[in-house]
Symmetry: C2
Subunit: 424 residues, 2 copies
């Protein structure tokens, strides 16, 4: 049997068997239609089974299943690397492939650390944020905030220095974002000024911290950290596994915030949610520290299926679809409606919906403590809407191409569930 | 551009562009044929692009690209889990999916640790071996032996207790395998007897340590460690990422050695080398420590593309092909010829070939120090034979279906290269 992730093993409801999918819709074995309001863990950015992506994989897999990516290469891996650099508007120089977000983050950390090591500089401290999430492998957990996700394993973590997360809807230092001067960063700034010679990297999720509650913060926070990194020779790593490929409204969140990270980690939306693939993008300054013939300067990291032709082909097709079908425009329209519909709902249920917020193609709010989020999820599932609360945070992160009808259905369903609750 | 894994970034030869593949053959852009004597990093067990695996993926991807695997499931993920349990002859109870071997190992370690943690037992020590390799993420590196692969990162590793690796062709305690009583394990046994209450797991590669030099050891070593684990309530983890699916001559190396590990990690051959997928198989005794409704007892680990229908479909087809085409028989024949051909070569070049050895579908030897392994590789590549030395260890681990003609070509090419060298 399957051990389902993140699932208590006793008394869980049998999972719903999904047989096929298209656009924002999933269909179970009785062909009942569900709206995938979370893009299946934030991946199906073009909706499910986009025909051009599927076609591309089917063509590629006929030719070449896999070839080891050292001493040998393949066309799709080459084309995708080129495309990713172009899509990132040449902010990066080189692409390191892997298979999932956790690995893309581990690669980012290891490259950042070794980039000083290769210059005979020993910097041991990485800065992380209290509400961050970067994946579930030991290294990725080590740079995440403490949570129930990683609690049993904290003895395995390598040391890091943690600061409070920026959060403009629940400010850790009690400010209002309209008038603040990023006071949430004061401790971090002081620490960096006093310890920069030991700090090799700062890692964070740009503009929105996903898995720990869709916490949104303003661009100026990122800009300030970016400046600090530049000033003190610290590598700025952005985990764009969730935010990459349009989620925050721009191609990447770092573009939305107009900052220049040294390394970004990508996965999820990279293949349009079709096949497992991840990538870590590295700028030339960092890469140059590895540009050496010395065996000791080599980055000894690799995953066997790296540069898989089918997965690269899916990613390449996904980016082409992103550009050709003008997803940025879709996201703008989606953002407009998310703002409109959540405002209406908030006006109707100001005591049940807390901190409503929208960024690009994400809409989130906290559910009042009076309402159990698991029950909320189940009520929506009865109405064939799929969401996944993060604690008491409810969010919608649909495929960018979701129809207005489906959006209306989602918000209408939430309305009914909340209304039923008020009548109890 | 692509940052190629394990590759010095300056002065490396342009990688060869592979355009298509079939059976043991890869073809470059000029349609020049190469023999893939290492199964592209040990994955293409049925050869490249086996038509039934390719067909299966093409059919599945049309229906369902991906659905989140919590609260929802898909047919291929269910069928594969069932098939894996059956293929493992019911030695395991449940299947946890991931995307690569490093992650499958991290999952094994985390599950082993939490399995005691959930019973309020704190055991902190994991035992590893000096020449082992389990992957490149921080957790997987932590349980690997020290090598150039992980040297820069040792400050990031969690603590573990290391013992000398068993190696019957270069015994760490100077014995001969025919007459030994596994004296290589004496220190380990003493340590376990005195510290078992703190040891949660022993992790090792069964029968052959792959990436650190194809070091083969006898079944009795595994049996003794298995008994120790059973006696002292220590979880026995076998990393079958390389050995799984026939490489050592049985379906799994643990079957070849007739031991009962609690957890095994699988990847590489799992999908026949077609798509990225990995799995960690767990027995009922361990699983039962998670069989609880308590949120604290939940295993909070997951990768977004987990249970990907296309990848599961490839794996399912690969196992079906393994059984239907009777791969175990192919491996027996292959083993016979590997032994025959390496013996002939050894008799001819007893001073250049050291410790020749064969286990199942792997043939390895050390190259005399007088011959640079990189040059040896290049000479074979000129003859269109692909190998990848591990230090001065030369190995062949071909697809199980390799033709005798191709095998003869490989050994004949090695013969010529060695002969040319003796004439220098």
């Amino acid at each position: 049997m399957i051990w389902y992730p993140y699932t208590p093993q006793k008394g869980y409801k049998e999972p719903i068997l999904i047989k096929r999918a298209t656009r924002e819709f999933l269909y179970d074995e009785n062909d009942i239609e569900y709206i995938d309001a979370v893009s299946s863990w934030w991946i199906s950015i073009h909706g499910h089974n986009h025909p051009e992506i599927i076609k591309s994989v089917k063509q590629e897999i006929e030719k070449l299943d896999q070839v080891l990516l050292a001493g040998f290469t393949n066309t799709k891996a080459l084309e995708l690397a080129e495309k990713l650099i172009e899509f990132s508007e040449n902010n990066f120089h080189t692409v390191f492939y892997s298979d999932n977000g956790s690995c893309a983050v581990e690669i980012a950390i290891k490259i950042a650390y070794q980039s000083f090591y290769n210059k005979n500089i020993k910097k041991n401290i990485i800065i992380k944020f209290s509400e961050s999430y970067h994946g579930d492998t030991i290294g990725a957990m080590s740079v995440g905030g403490n949570s129930k996700f990683n609690l049993p394993f904290k003895d395995f973590f390598f040391p890091s220095k943690e600061f409070l997360s920026p959060d403009c809807y629940n400010c850790p230092v009690g400010k209002k974002k309209e008038r603040c001067k990023e006071e949430c960063l004061e401790k971090l700034e002081n620490y960096v000024i006093n310890n920069h010679s030991e700090i090799f990297a700062i890692i964070m999720e740009p503009l929105i911290q996903g898995a720990n509650g869709m916490k949104i913060y303003k661009k100026d926070v990122l800009k300030k950290i970016d400046s600090l990194c530049k000033k003190f020779d610290i590598i700025f790593i952005l985990d764009e596994v969730f935010t990459g490929f349009g989620r925050t409204g721009s191609k990447f969140a770092f573009m939305e915030a107009d900052v220049k990270p040294d390394i970004i980690a990508l996965a999820k939306g990279l293949s349009g949610g079709v096949l497992p693939i991840a990538a870590t993008l590295i700028n030339k300054k960092i890469y140059d520290n590895f540009f050496s013939e010395r065996i000791e300067d080599t980055f000894f990291h690799g995953h066997t299926m790296t540069g898989n032709p089918s997965a690269c082909s899916a990613a390449l097709a996904s980016i082409e679809v992103f550009e050709k079908e003008n997803r940025i425009e879709d996201i703008k329209i989606l953002e407009f409606y998310l703002k409109k519909y959540i405002k209406q709902l908030y006006e109707k249920y100001p005591n049940l919906i807390l901190s409503p917020r929208v960024l690009g193609a994400v809409c989130a709010f906290e559910l009042s403590d009076s309402f159990n989020p698991g029950e909320f999820k189940n009520h929506l599932l009865e109405k064939k809407i799929i969401i996944r609360p993060l604690g008491n945070t409810i969010y919608i992160a649909p495929p960018y191409i979701i129809s207005n009808d489906s959006l209306i259905k989602i918000f209408h369903s939430i309305d009914i569930v909340l209304n039923d609750f008020t009548l109890l």
